[in-house]
């Protein structure tokens, strides 16, 4: 028997469960898949950057954290020092 623990009334865990579920379900019900949005954002961001430097797909990390008011998106891209040399800025004009 653990009477001490019984009387010390550790903080309840159910409120934490309730809060976590509310945030999660709000996002899940809003459907349109967060991962699709993140994929779109990632692809567009990468396209912009790729115009200027050559980047390695493996060196890109996209993280997200959902909150109840705002979510944060974190895009981490490693740009090597010589990246700009490998792929000079291409203005899109064709050679005459």
């Amino acid at each position: 028997m653990n009477l001490l623990r019984f009387f010390s009334r550790s903080p309840q865990s159910a409120p934490a469960a309730r809060e976590r579920l509310q945030v999660l379900l709000a996002h899940e019900r809003a459907s349109t898949g967060d991962s699709e949005l993140v994929t779109k954002l990632r692809d567009e961001i990468l396209r912009v950057i790729a115009k200027h430097v050559k980047i390695d797909d493996d060196k890109v990390s996209v993280k997200m954290e959902r909150g109840d008011q705002v979510s944060t998106l974190e895009v981490d891209i490693e740009i090597p020092l010589d990246a700009a040399k490998k792929k000079p800025v291409n203005s899109g004009k064709k050679a005459a």
Partner: protein, 271 residues
């Protein structure tokens, strides 16, 4: 090369997901590099039990379909540096899991981690057989009651026929993890005895996890029980099970009984 472990049972609600999180964390708490993989496509829960639900961007199906790189889908635990989660998809169904895709992912994980823990969905269909397909070791999670024992027996049959090991004529290493064991009901004689379950299933015992409020509390706050309540009875039982999984000889005690169970377990032959 890491070990691939499937946590399986046939029956739902017996404690597979709880066990995947707790054992994965226990191994990582001892410095091993661990990834837990949720194979329950369409009904993911491991992310919630691990407290990573807000951070899921990509999942197993995204990786298999080539929509994300494996490294991008792995979520690192905020508390344990060497613990990672590969979540299941919530919006697509298990038909998106192809045998080739699963093989590629498991092979890549095996070379990067010490342990690849596969949390199987309930049932005996595609999802469950894909989760066990590449396993080196199987942990059969069983509750001491008739329907769970029956389903475990069925799963043991699948482990011995539908896995790569079985198809190559090798022996699949199988362990029994008895969970949700209630000492009070055992004392009253209302629950199958540990001995009885072991005799019926005749695979070696990895541990006995008591039924405990600490498991519920841990899942409420989104933390494996070995992290949230590391001194609790279920956590200690999971730590011991993790050591046995690594090959250590740790005596098994039956919750509620003082006497050891050591001789019995190790005297028993595996099937």
């Amino acid at each position: 090369m890491g070990k691939v472990v499937v946590i399986t049972s046939g029956k739902g609600g017996v404690g597979k997901t709880t066990t995947s999180a707790a054992l994965g964390a226990a191994l990582a708490q001892n410095g091993e590099k661990v990834v837990v993989v949720d194979f329950d496509v369409g009904l993911r829960n491991l992310d919630l039990v691990m407290g990573a639900e807000r951070r899921v961007v990509y999942d197993l199906v995204n990786v298999i379909q080539g929509e994300a790189k494996l490294a991008q889908a792995l979520i690192r635990d905020k508390r344990l540096e060497t613990l990672y989660l590969l979540p299941a998809s919530q919006t697509r169904d298990k038909d998106n899991l192809t045998p080739e895709g699963v093989e590629k992912v498991v092979t890549a994980l095996r070379s990067a981690f010490d342990w690849v823990i596969c949390d199987s969905p309930a049932g005996i269909e595609r999802g469950a057989t894909l989760a066990m397909r590449h396993a080196d070791v199987a942990i059969v999670v069983t509750n001491p009651e008739v329907s769970s024992v029956r389903d475990s027996d069925r799963i043991i049959g699948l482990l011995d026929s539908k896995t790569l090991k079985a198809e190559n004529g090798e022996r699949m290493e199988k362990h029994l993890l008895l969970t949700r064991y209630d000492p009070v009901r055992a004392e009253r004689g209302d629950m199958l005895k540990v001995d009885d379950v072991l005799e019926i299933l005749s695979i070696p015992l990895l541990g006995i996890i008591p039924e405990s409020m600490d498991v519920l509390k841990a899942s409420n706050v989104g933390s494996p029980v070995t992290l949230a309540e590391s001194a609790s009875a279920p956590a200690r039982a999971y730590f011991d099970a993790a050591r046995r999984l690594k090959g250590e000889a740790v005596p098994v005690t039956v919750p509620g009984e003082k006497r050891g169970f050591f001789g019995k377990i190790f005297g028993r032959k595996a099937a």
